[in-house]
Amino acid sequence: MKTFWAFVKKETLHILRDPRTLVILLGMPIAQVVLFGFAITNELNDARIAIFDASGDPVTQEISDRLTSSGFFQLAIKLDQEDQLERAFQHDRVKLAVVFPPEFQERFFREDRPQIQLIADATDPNTATTLIAYASAIIRQYEQEKKGSAALPYSIQTEVRMRYNEELKSVYLFVPGVITIILMLVSAMMTSIALTREKELGTMEILLVSPLKPVVIVVGKVIPYIALGLANMAIILILATMVFHMPIRGSLFLLIAESLLFIMTSLALGIMISSRVQTQQVALMISLMVLMLPTILLSGFIFPIENMPWPLQAISHIVPARWFIVIVKGVMLKGAGLAVVWKETLILIVMTLVLIGASVRSFKLRLE
């Protein structure tokens, strides 16, 4: 036990002696949460629009007002000529142009179904789609109100409620993803680098020739990184709840326990990588390619898994992050207990056991 603590202490010293890496490791979660929370949002506010109104009657005026007072749009320029559209997109950088045809009001009340043209800048397709959806909704609502008095014989009303995230805050989406990425990064990448460093520098020989058991070497090396992972987790959760008012509806204890489980999975992955490569550089490359990319792309964090082609969907099943994100979202947003996320938890436990088994085996193989 004493030898074990001597080892943990040495490993902690390594981390402290490299303040630059430490600052990056502790600063990264802060930067990521703040970036994702403030800068990178899916919500759109005050998008610049141009309006070309060929009628200029009360109805078109009212619709224009509705659009510009919604908070989503701001009028950047009012056009007199339809051929000024190109210039508005290029020069005034509007994201959306709204074109009213002539005699709009007369045709509207004649039930002649006049058309409003919505032209979006689709260099960013996601933004374009969102803007069109917002504008259409506002116009449809206006139409409903005007026609409401006419009392259609049959009509269906939809009432929409966005459960678990009423305000559609994108930070709710990003926090579970950021937690996953950071834990994977600290646990898997940093341990694989730390272990390979001993090999590269030749100190691993010295450790193996000492009476230390290999398992003590590995466990001693990963303990400080578990602590670092939990510290990161705490930073993210504090930021998310204090700054972005994100709720933790489920049990905090369960959330931490599940995170520890995911840290174990990541550590096992890191140990496995380190037992197969000889240099820190290769360890870094493999961690980035084999761990970070799937964690970001195939976990359902940014891109919905349901929309992926089936081979990618199949691969996503073996990405631990995919299951962990479901757990974090469930516990934080839906207040889910173990009874709800037991399947994902079980999958992670099995993955961890298999990985630890494999990494212990490959560690032994190397010792012959």
């Binding site: 080892f7 202490k9 040495k10 002696r17 030749g202 020739v209």
Partner: protein, 244 residues
């Protein structure tokens, strides 16, 4: 004679390649035993078997009285090891390195404290005890590494090309340290590329293609083979096999 190392027909095969081919030798307690050979002759493999890092394919060996198959853990406790790669932590201070290695060999806090003070004094490094090892000159690092490899007072130390890349004066000082250790009764098993260093050893063996091609005191070997220096003998043996 009190044997520190005893090997009989020790063999290591990697697939169909025989790295160490049935070598037999003995090293007495307190002896300085030079283990020579060209790169790839099987020196390191032999050393790894003796230090409990890998199991032999066949043959027998005892190190410090312990069997290499059955008691590798006991062997590890009783040997020191210093490898050709620099073997201390560069980002830890001199003192932290000594403490760490004392710690992993299970020394008590009190033992570590006295040992640290003693080592620092011997090496005359007290004034930079709190300096990170990375800023020391290579020669000092090597001497420190040698001392640290004996922090748990092992009865045998294995030195794998300990003086690689070190200047002649430091090499000389390093060998003085080896002599002092041998005087204390520590057995020194050393591999080297420098043939002048071979002459400092009590006995040497020259490995060629996994086998021991010559063994004895430097004087015996020179006399029996009628060569002026060990260097000459080494070149002869190596050439002999490569022309075959």
């Amino acid at each position: 004679m009190n044997q520190a190392i005893w090997a009989e027909s020790l063999t290591k095969k990697f697939g169909s390649f025989t790295a160490v081919d049935a070598i037999s030798f003995e090293v007495g307690q307190g002896e300085i035993f030079g283990f020579l050979g060209a790169n790839g002759a099987g020196k390191t493999t032999a050393m790894r078997m003796l230090s409990g890092l890998s199991f032999p394919t066949s043959g027998k060996a005892r190190v410090a009285g312990f069997d290499v198959y059955k008691q590798p853990d006991q062997i590890k406790r009783h040997i020191g090891y210093m490898s050709q790669k620099f073997s201390l932590y560069e980002d830890l201070t001199v003192q932290e390195n000594i403490r760490f290695f004392g710690g992993i060999y299970g020394l008590s806090l009190k033992e570590i404290r006295t040992k640290t003070a003693q080592l620092l004094e011997e090496l005359d490094l007290e004034w930079i005890a709190k300096t990170q090892v990375r800023s020391l000159p290579l020669g000092w690092k090597q001497k420190l590494a040698f001392s640290v490899s004996q922090v748990h007072t092992p009865s045998i130390v294995f030195l794998d090309e300990p003086t690689g890349g070190v200047d002649p004066i430091t090499r000389r000082q390093f060998w003085e340290m080896i002599y002092r250790a041998a005087d204390r009764g520590v057995t020194v098993f050393v591999t080297t590329h420098y043939m002048d260093e071979a002459e400092y050893c009590d006995r040497i063996s020259i490995m060629v293609d996994g086998q021991i091609a010559a063994m004895g005191t430097p004087e015996e070997l020179k006399r029996d083979n009628n060569v002026p220096s060990i260097n000459e003998l080494f070149v002869q043996l190596a050439r002999h096999t490569s022309s075959k």
